[in-house]
């Protein structure tokens, strides 16, 4: 699902020096996560300092397997609180990745009644007509 309504722009991410690597990767159809090489730990969202060792130069970008489990979700059913660029209903899901961090995303080819906590999902990418690349999650075999 997630159908865009033509003519309404979708919001772009806020790209700065701390998360440039993340969004550059998305552009290349890769999902990367920030990783502290000292603590051997994935961190999300990206930040300028590792909260465990407080180092500012041990972080790198590591590709995620892109696989995870649907951890929670909401379904937008009314225009009142929805973003008008999307056709209703649409789901916003929280996916717990194999690396242990959770990311918020939309779904791809998952019907509303299939959206359920525990569903195994994996990442896919879509290039939008406006030049943006977005990541979404689709069903996968468990």
């Amino acid at each position: 699902m997630v159908k865009l309504i033509e003519g309404i722009p979708i919001m772009r991410p806020y790209i700065d020096l701390d998360n440039q690597g993340y969004w550059d990767a998305v552009k290349n159809h890769k999902l990367v996560l920030q990783y502290c090489t000292k603590c051997n730990r994935f961190i999300h969202p990206p930040r300028p300092m590792c909260p465990t060792c407080r180092s500012q130069d041990t972080m790198e970008w590591k590709e995620s397997s892109g696989k995870g489990i649907l951890y929670s979700y909401v379904m937008f059913t009314s225009p009142k609180m929805a973003y008008p660029a999307y056709e209703l209903p649409y789901a916003v899901v929280l996916v717990e990745l194999e690396e242990g961090v959770r990311i918020v995303t939309n779904t791809h080819e998952i019907e509303p009644d299939e959206v359920q906590i525990g569903l195994p999902v994996e990442v896919m990418f879509e290039d939008l007509p406006d030049g943006q690349t977005v990541y979404r999650f689709k069903k996968r075999e468990a």
């Binding site: 919001m11 772009r12 969202p45 225009p79 609180m81 660029a85 929280l94 939309n106």
Partner: protein
């Protein structure tokens, strides 16, 4: 991370001692004031603020020139110098804004109390003025297109572009996880809004006064953001409210029974994002509210059983019910059962909650109306007065850096 919360063991050795807390029992709320709560005030927010503040000053038996401090939280649209130039307060010595959105509902009182307790101001006015019903409303989807082509902050950038721009949706994610983990039913959720609506029927100032709602009505109301229905969500309000804080010493010479601050707390636990608190080990609880509760009980030297009445910041029903769990009014995961049938939160129940109608049925004044009702319960002037109130609790918003106070007679 957040080990204290995960273990439910609050560390006290790294906190300032209770003896060192100058706010406890030394500071009181002595004046409350509000405007009418409407759907279209036809006035600007500065105008509304002036009226509410004047009412609070009159209520306390003070003169406007006595006020020497102002406090609110961010998202405020007023210019403080313009407010002061209208009110004519000659020498303002203290001003502050607290971040965290609705979580700061009580933090404003905390900072005002700190100013008063340390002699940095004599009378601090905490104010809020909104035209959310007729004017700009925070957190509506369609607002964003015209003025926000790019997400507001780096961390919102992972979330907002997904059609996910409203607090209601953000909360739905952890709300659903809570419902999933503890088998909470929609029928159970409905009792929170239903009981609050009952309270509002006795409060002529409430937005939903004269418009009762049954549990059946609730069940039939439309879904807004699954898992939240229309009546799970707060009202929109035009209006303003204010209260005045001073020392207990000065309060003795004033008009009203002071509502003494027995404890105040603020907290911002790690991985805080406005509502999108998804990186914590567990998201089916409210870390912030737990911390606030623990700190309040530590400073006030009491427990949940001692609290007579509570005003919990409830922008949506789940936010209110999970707070009952985190504050210890019921066991974790038992919130659904606790509110079922509504008796536990009614006026002679275990813990009467949001007795003026709360954010769902009285007004969405970012928690100011909750503080005011908390004070009324101490004074004995509530429209839904609980008997013999000794301790009255008020909290700030769920899922954001939060806050709380316990008031006593």
């Amino acid at each position: 991370m957040l080990q204290e919360y995960m273990d439910r063991k609050y560390r006290t050795d790294n906190k300032p001692s209770v003896e060192a807390n100058l706010i406890k029992n030394n500071v009181a709320i002595v004046g409350i004031g509000q405007t009418q709560y409407t759907k279209n005030s036809g006035r600007d927010e500065l105008d509304l603020a002036c009226e509410a503040i004047q009412n609070a000053v009159d209520d306390a038996g003070l003169k406007m020139s006595d006020i020497d401090g102002f406090d609110t939280f961010i998202l405020d649209r007023l210019s403080l110098p313009m407010l002061i130039n209208s009110l004519g307060t000659p020498n303002v010595r203290f001003s502050c804004e607290v971040s965290g959105g609705g979580g700061a509902g009580c933090a404003v009182a905390v900072h005002a109390a700190a100013a008063v307790a340390t002699g940095q101001a004599d009378y601090v006015c905490c104010y809020r003025s909104l035209n959310e019903a007729s004017g700009h409303r925070y957190g509506r989807g369609d607002d964003f297109i015209e003025y926000m082509p790019v997400a507001l902050t780096p961390n919102y950038g992972y979330i907002w572009p997904l059609g996910f721009v409203t607090p209601l949706g953000w909360a739905g994610v952890w709300g659903r996880r809570w419902m999933h983990e503890f088998n909470i039913t929609r029928e159970q959720l409905g009792w929170w809004p239903v009981v609050l609506r009952e309270y509002a029927q006795n409060n002529p100032e409430a937005t939903y006064f004269g418009r009762p709602m049954t549990h059946e009505d609730y069940m039939e109301s439309p879904m807004i953001v699954d898992p939240l229905k229309l009546h799970d969500c707060c009202v929109n309000t035009d209006g303003a409210a204010a209260y005045i804080i001073t020392t207990v010493e000065r309060a003795k010479d004033l008009k009203q029974t002071p509502a003494i601050i027995a404890a105040s707390a603020q907290c911002c636990p790690i991985e805080q994002e406005i509502q999108t608190i998804y990186q914590r080990p567990s998201i089916s609880g409210l870390v912030e509210t737990w911390y606030v509760g623990q700190e309040l009980y530590r400073v006030a030297e009491c427990g949940p059983d001692d609290i007579d009445v509570a005003q919990l910041y409830d922008p949506y029903s789940i936010g209110g019910i999970i707070q009952l769990e985190e504050l210890g009014f019921c066991e974790r995961g038992e919130g659904g059962k606790f509110v079922e049938g509504g008796d536990n939160i009614r006026i002679d129940g275990k813990i009467p909650c949001n007795t003026a109608g709360g954010l769902l049925s009285e007004a969405y004044l970012h928690g100011w109306n909750l503080v005011i009702e908390g004070v009324r319960q101490i004074r004995g002037t509530s429209y839904n007065q609980v008997k013999d109130v000794e301790l009255s609790m008020v909290t700030g918003g769920p899922g954001v850096a939060s806050s709380g106070i316990i008031l006593r007679r």
